[in-house]
């Protein structure tokens, strides 16, 4: 057993902890790191990426949803589970943008001509494939400042959540709290009719 004799806070991420919505995003990042990190196997790149994501989440101007998608994709990449985002995983040809599907189980894009029987496929709208490729190569600060359509954001969330679920073989537990925190901030509380 290892023995910890001393601990020191290097960065407390104080702005992140001042707001329920930011906290819920930070917890999601921590769970993702905990789920894909391998005990006893240092992954400094993933550690640095996590620190940067937590720092950016504490900024009001950050597109927190897109930053989470970036962190999911980069975590998959750094853990060796990056989905194929450039050619069809069945025929290895570059799929036409307007006829592209995503298969979490198959490991990436599937073109409209292939669509094998029994493979679970998510149809992609225009812009989602380009966003996935952008998130694969860009820097975290760029992802945090970028904006895209609500439809693409919803698709990115579905595609990456399904991929994470496939590799972990379970749901991310903190994902439900992200929705709870968002609802708590947007909806009136139980006391409204009383006040």
């Amino acid at each position: 057993m290892d023995s910890v004799n001393q601990a020191q806070v290097l960065e407390s991420y104080a702005p992140l902890k001042a707001d329920l919505d930011m906290v819920s995003h930070g917890i999601y990042v921590s769970e993702l790191l905990d789920s894909f990190g391998v005990e006893g196997s240092a992954n400094l790149t993933l550690y640095d990426l996590t620190c940067e994501a937590l720092r950016l989440l504490g900024r009001k101007e950050t597109n927190k949803g897109l930053l989470l998608r970036y962190f999911e994709l980069q975590t998959l990449k750094l853990s060796g589970f990056l989905p194929e985002l450039h050619v069809c995983v069945v025929c290895r040809n570059r799929p036409a943008v307007e006829m592209t599907f995503f298969s979490p189980d198959g490991g990436g894009l599937v073109c409209g001509d292939c669509r094998p029987e029994g493979m679970r496929l998510l149809p992609l709208v225009s812009g989602t494939v380009e966003m996935l490729r952008f998130l694969e190569t860009t820097e975290p600060t760029h992802a945090a400042r970028f904006s895209t359509s609500a439809e693409v954001q919803v698709q990115l969330k579905a595609v990456l959540a399904a991929t994470v679920r496939y590799w972990l073989d379970r749901e991310m537990r903190s994902a439900a709290f992200l929705d709870t925190a968002r609802d708590a901030l947007s909806q009136p509380s139980e006391g409204t009719d009383h006040a």
């Binding site: 329920l20 917890i27 709290f177 006040a195």
Partner: protein, 204 residues
Amino acid sequence: VTGRYGPGIAPSISRLIQELNKLPGIGPKSAQRLTYHIIRLPEQEVRVLAEALLSVKKDTLFCSRCQNISDQDPCEICSNPERTTTQICVVEEPLDVLTIERTGCYRGLYHVLHGVISPINGVGPEDIRIRELLRRLKSEDVKEVILATNPTLEGESTAMYIRRQLTSFNVKLTHLARGLPVGGDLEYADETTLSRAFQGRQEF
């Protein structure tokens, strides 16, 4: 059960070790030590221990008002006419009530959440007794809610969630001061604690 703690261990011993091992803070070694201690006790003492264990489960209940564990409903604190009923101190666990009571500086009522929001461990707001707190605020004349959750990430998240839920209630919402512990040393304080101590400084 047989064989889990070694081939030479009787199933009844192994079973007790296994059950004690499930208790918080009791590892396999401690469970073994406790088991062999119990074996060496006179039968009458073991019977008293077993009866105490059964009794604590049979004779205790949750206070319908504050959710604390008690042997009566409402509990002793909630039914005490000398307590200030317009103040509710929200704590995580029943043990926190005992700790605050020992200080003798609080005369209001409590609300025990029985946990904190901990998304990584799959504990959401619906798994702790926040709903019961909101129900109390609707039915009781409460002027102040004091959030006394621990200053941990989970405790703070729970406090922030409750704060959001209470925005439309006409109550004063406070939380315990954050800062340096008595007998502590500035040199060893982390930046968050120190900055909160500065924010909460008082005229001297």
